[in-house]
Subunit: 253 residues, 2 copies
């Protein structure tokens, strides 16, 4: 059974204000829900139709699972092809940032990314390439926005996302910074070394001026054709791929 | 003035059936409309608000431009942040495919890509990297779908898109084929040479079995982390970037 109060709670979680107030966010779909269940995130409860429940046989015994009908499910889903399962997941406590996470590895830094689909794709792609930490400016779209969660295809369950004041973060950090800009050294001629922060800027305006003037290496994706710009998730992908290529090449040597 | 018939024509063009019937498609936004005007496409007419018209000062004299009010514009736009200008553009005549287009270069081949945003991003990214031709299976989403047009950010005006029966196309072609698959040679250890077809498959099912068994080189994007898959526009991006890297490196030698 699904009460009116439950419906109103779930739909309220589309808004950042209510996610913050309740300390919860929504995850939908069999794969994504399964990945959050087996992650370090805490599950508040799961709503499932009989059909979805049979497809998710190995649910932990202590998991609160509420059985609802297909008709009820349609009142809470926001997917066009709903899969009959939705979890309310607890937003993780905001802990002091562990600077050790940035050592001997590469991390991504996002300055005011606005589009949920872009952030979701960046998280999914970063995870494919083994990147474990993404640091976002406070102005970046919330990673627990349902559209972001959906676009990560479960990867959000395993990548650390940290929101902070980016200017002072970059100031405090003593890790080498690589910024994606329109005129700099070619990415294919840049040695990314064994650690670094890869900074990508806002869809329209790029990296803000304060950070730009502090960057150690200004890096450009060479333009061969006539397109005026690249999507920011596409640009991040190109950095992740080139990092992976350099890392795999080093191992071979 | 905007008549009811005009509104109904424009909104009908969201559907492939009516785009085919009228031989027209919709382009919106100042940048995109400008790029189509200066391309080889033929413009049927442009609808513009006074504000947008002042921003597009250099319109060709022979262009049919219909002045409409902001209120009228809201009846025809499908953007959440409309810019006051919309063009009806003639779909190009279907010509015999020019096989010369594929020689001494790399082209992209798409097998049943479904998502308009993915196709749009692929066209935009391909143009950035100087790729001039994209061959699509007949089952791939229509490139003149308004969501595709929008996502290309004007690049559609300059990239050749050809729809065909992909199985017989690959059969007839004598260009080296590179297929993106889950287990093959690492993309970073693949020499793409000076020409080739880069084949990317459907979002859920990848490249169809007939084509897969005909591929010259099965190529994989190495997975370093735990994500299960990559978005197809992201995968295409990684191929375009690696092609560009190899091409720029060859020039340097």
């Amino acid at each position: 059974m699904l009460s009116k109060a439950q419906i109103s709670l779930i739909t309220s979680l589309h808004h950042k204000k209510f996610r913050k107030q309740h300390g919860l966010f929504v995850v939908e779909g069999i794969k994504s829900v399964s990945e959050f269940i087996s992650s370090s995130y805490q599950i508040h409860c799961v709503y499932a139709t009989p059909d979805a429940r049979t497809k998710m046989s190995n649910l932990p015994q202590n998991l609160k699972c509420i059985d609802i009908t297909d008709k009820e499910f349609h009142k809470i889903t926001s997917l066009s092809s709903p899969q009959g399962v939705l979890a309310l997941v607890k937003t993780p406590p905001i802990e002091d940032f562990d600077w050790n996470n940035l050592e001997n590895t590469h991390s991504i830094v996002l300055d005011d990314i606005q589009d949920p689909g872009n952030l979701g794709t960046i998280i999914r792609t970063a995870e494919w390439f083994g990147i474990k930490t993404i640091v976002c400016s406070n102005g970046t779209v919330d990673a627990f926005n349902p559209k972001v969660v959906q676009a990560t295809m479960g990867s959000l369950a395993r990548v650390n996302i940290h929101y902070t004041d980016l200017n002072s973060f970059i100031d405090k950090s003593n890790i080498t910074t690589f910024g994606a800009v329109l005129s700099g050294r070619s990415i294919y001629q840049t040695d990314f070394g064994s650690s670094g922060l890869i900074i990508l800027g806002n869809e329209g305006n790029g990296i803000n001026e304060t950070i730009k003037s502090n960057i150690d290496h200004a890096v450009t994706i060479p333009r061969i054709g006539d397109a005026e710009s690249l999507n920011v998730a596409v640009a991040t992908t190109i950095f992740c791929s080139e990092l992976a290529r350099q890392k795999l090449n080093q191992k071979k040597r």
